[in-house]
């Protein structure tokens, strides 16, 4: 019996056949079963989250000191991200090698070692097993077999990489560097938020959502809905369909960046607003600080939604900086962890400003409520009705990045998805 030290070395559950599922011929169509089928969900865990991907797991600012740790996830699997005494960051399963106990039950903390409460198997900050009680038994009787070796029972570890304070993990040891995984254009936008400055964590929101996890990726690759669903954006002039906007994807089509430059003043004269039934032209905020833009860089974009495959959304809106980690639970449910931050060198006024603006996002936010409700409605429709293919027909695949009433980035995500999944 040999237990491996790396998650990569372990075989996984047998893959069930999905040969009965046939993808539609029309590239604009997405079959319902990608959102509802349990077999597809299990295949995604294996081929996407545990496949050749970099999964976001934590910010370094969440574990600034040796011994700091947080709970996190890769796919739906609970992990721990910890900083050891030498300062190195490790990611490993939150599952005791002995009886499978998910032993870490706190969001965050600081300690020298992890002790499983069931039989006190003790691991160091890299996940290595360092002691086992009653190894020689009592009075020479019982205990571990003579050939028991601690180093064969470490917590299974993940490959970890960091860029500018953002920590990603992969099951695979031979992953391409994060920089080439993201591609030049996405990396450029990533660095517009994470420019190497030290970050300061402002807090975390958590919610479950009764929807398939992919719908959340799609939602942030979908500029069509932004001005139609989010009446707050159009009413208060943050985003209208006539804005300068661009949506770009990486070469493989799996990541995207949806950039928007907010108009100066209010958008009364935008002719596209007549398409938007919900536009309230006369409305002004009583306290406009919530949407006030304080210029922080020379870039052209005032908001940017970056979708990084498979589990990360980076969002900069006005002066809000945040990321959202997607944790799939089952085909019909996922968990969303929103980590909000500023920079360590922000003035107290700037920090207050960011906190005030965060009324826009989160599961109680002016936009967050719209999205969470809309995606629940989508899943309600998909899981309860007679299946039929969904449509993502807008725009063309060879159009330029400035075409924004388009589903181009959703289609490109599914091209990549089919390849990764073998569908």
């Amino acid at each position: 019996m040999l237990s491996s030290r790396r998650l990569e070395e372990d075989c996984h559950r047998p893959v069930v056949s999905v040969a009965d599922l046939r993808w539609p011929d029309d590239p604009a169509e997405i079959p319902d079963w990608v959102y509802t089928d349990q077999r597809i969900f299990e295949l995604e865990q294996e081929r996407i989250f545990l496949g050749s991907t970099w999964n976001y797991v934590a910010l370094e600012a969440e574990l600034p000191r040796p011994g700091d740790y947080i709970r996190s996830y890769i796919g739906g699997i609970p992990i721990i991200v910890a900083r050891d005494k030498a300062g190195a960051v490790h990611a490993f399963e939150n599952r005791c090698a002995h009886r499978g106990v998910e032993f870490c039950k706190t969001y965050r903390g600081n300690n020298d070692q992890f002790v499983c409460p069931y039989h006190q198997w003790t691991y160091d900050l890299s996940g290595a097993l360092i002691s086992v009680p009653f190894r020689r038994g009592v009075k020479g009787k019982g205990g571990m077999p003579n050939d028991f070796r601690l180093d064969e029972h470490h917590l299974r570890a993940l490959n970890v990489t960091c860029r500018h304070g953002v920590i990603f993990a992969s099951r695979h040891e031979d992953m391409e560097p994060l920089e080439s995984y993201l591609g030049a254009e996405i990396l450029d936008q990533f660095d517009s938020i994470f420019d190497g400055r030290e970050l300061k964590i402002l807090g975390v929101h958590r919610n479950t959502m009764p929807a398939n996890w992919k719908l959340y990726q799609e939602n942030l690759k979908d500029p069509y809905h932004a001005t139609l669903l989010h009446t707050y954006l159009t009413t208060f002039g943050l985003f209208v369909a006539g804005n300068k906007t661009a949506i770009m994807t990486d070469e493989k089509g799996r990541h995207a960046t949806l950039c928007n430059a907010r108009p100066e003043g209010r958008p009364e004269n935008d002719e596209s607003k007549s398409e938007i039934r919900s536009f309230h032209a006369a409305m002004q905020l009583a306290d406009p600080r919530v949407i006030q833009l304080i210029r922080e860089n020379d870039g052209p974009w005032t908001s940017n939604a970056i979708t990084i495959w498979p589990n990360l959304i980076l969002l900069r809106q006005t002066n809000i900086l945040g990321l959202r980690q997607i944790v799939p639970i089952d085909p019909n449910n996922f968990m969303l962890i929103w980590t909000t931050f500023g920079y360590a060198n922000d003035t107290p006024e700037m920090e207050q400003h960011r906190l005030r603006q965060n009324n826009i996002f989160g599961p109680g936010g002016f936009l967050g409520i719209d999205d969470n409700e809309a995606l629940k409605f989508v899943q309600d429709g998909l899981r309860r009705s007679v299946p039929r293919h969904g449509l993502a027909p807008l725009g063309n695949d060879d159009e330029g990045p400035e075409t924004v009433i388009t589903d181009r980035a959703i289609r490109s995500m599914y091209r990549h998805y089919r390849e990764a999944m073998g569908l």
């Binding site: 969001y107 965050r108 964590i201 402002l202 807090g203 975390v204 929101h205 958590r206 919610n207 479950t208 959502m209 009764p210 669903l229 009446t231 707050y232 009413t235 919900s278 309230h280 409305m283 905020l285 009583a286 306290d287 600080r289 919530v290 968990m335 909000t340 920090e351 906190l355 005030r356 965060n358 009324n359 989160g362 599961p363 109680g364 936010g365 002016f366 967050g368 409520i369 719209d370 969470n372 409700e373 809309a374 629940k376 409605f377």
Partner: protein, 172 residues
């Protein structure tokens, strides 16, 4: 929790005043709950003083000293903007909500302010779904006392239900 262990002194006159204040606070909570339970969100700011502050904070953030709030209003302008957004710009399914408020403690008072706490539960019911517990939390309140009328100077709702079920539309 600040002041949670402090009590008003125990003389007979004080204890009569304490009962009176607790009754005032309870009446305030019941009216607040009734207005929100009827989804009359645009009346919600009426419960606040002009410079009233409202914060809805997850307990794990509060315990870790992290300042992020799920909803945050500083003053009447932001309170009214939040109410307007819920009433007119946000998209959400119709719902019944029900506040249950209890364990009221008045912890401090003078001629102008009352400091109090209370536990609250918000139940939410959506069409064709079972009723669920949306929020379980504690109000940490500072009220302005104007005659015998209370207005919120500061309400910090610290919620144990850290994993929010989908979203929170109406402020608890």
């Amino acid at each position: 929790m600040p002041n949670a262990e402090r009590t008003v002194s125990n003389s007979m006159a004080d204890s009569a005043r304490l009962r009176e204040l607790r009754w005032l606070v309870e009446e305030f909570h019941f009216e607040y709950a009734a207005v929100l339970d009827r989804c009359e969100i645009e009346r919600w700011p009426e419960f606040f003083a002009q410079d009233g502050v409202y914060k809805l904070v997850a307990r794990d953030n509060a315990d870790a000293g992290l300042p992020l709030a799920l909803m945050s209003c500083e003053g009447m302008g932001m309170l009214k903007d939040r109410a307007y957004a819920i009433a007119h710009t946000e998209m959400f399914a119709p719902r019944y909500i029900k506040h249950l408020i209890g364990n009221i403690r008045v912890t401090e008072c003078d001629a102008y302010t009352v400091t109090a706490s209370a536990n609250y539960i918000v139940l939410e019911t959506l069409i064709d779904e079972s009723t669920q517990i949306l929020q379980a939390g504690t109000y940490h309140d500072v009220f302005a006392l104007e005659g015998e009328k209370l207005l919120i100077k500061e309400r910090r709702c610290i919620y144990d239900t850290v994993m929010v079920p989908n979203c929170i539309v109406f402020p608890p």
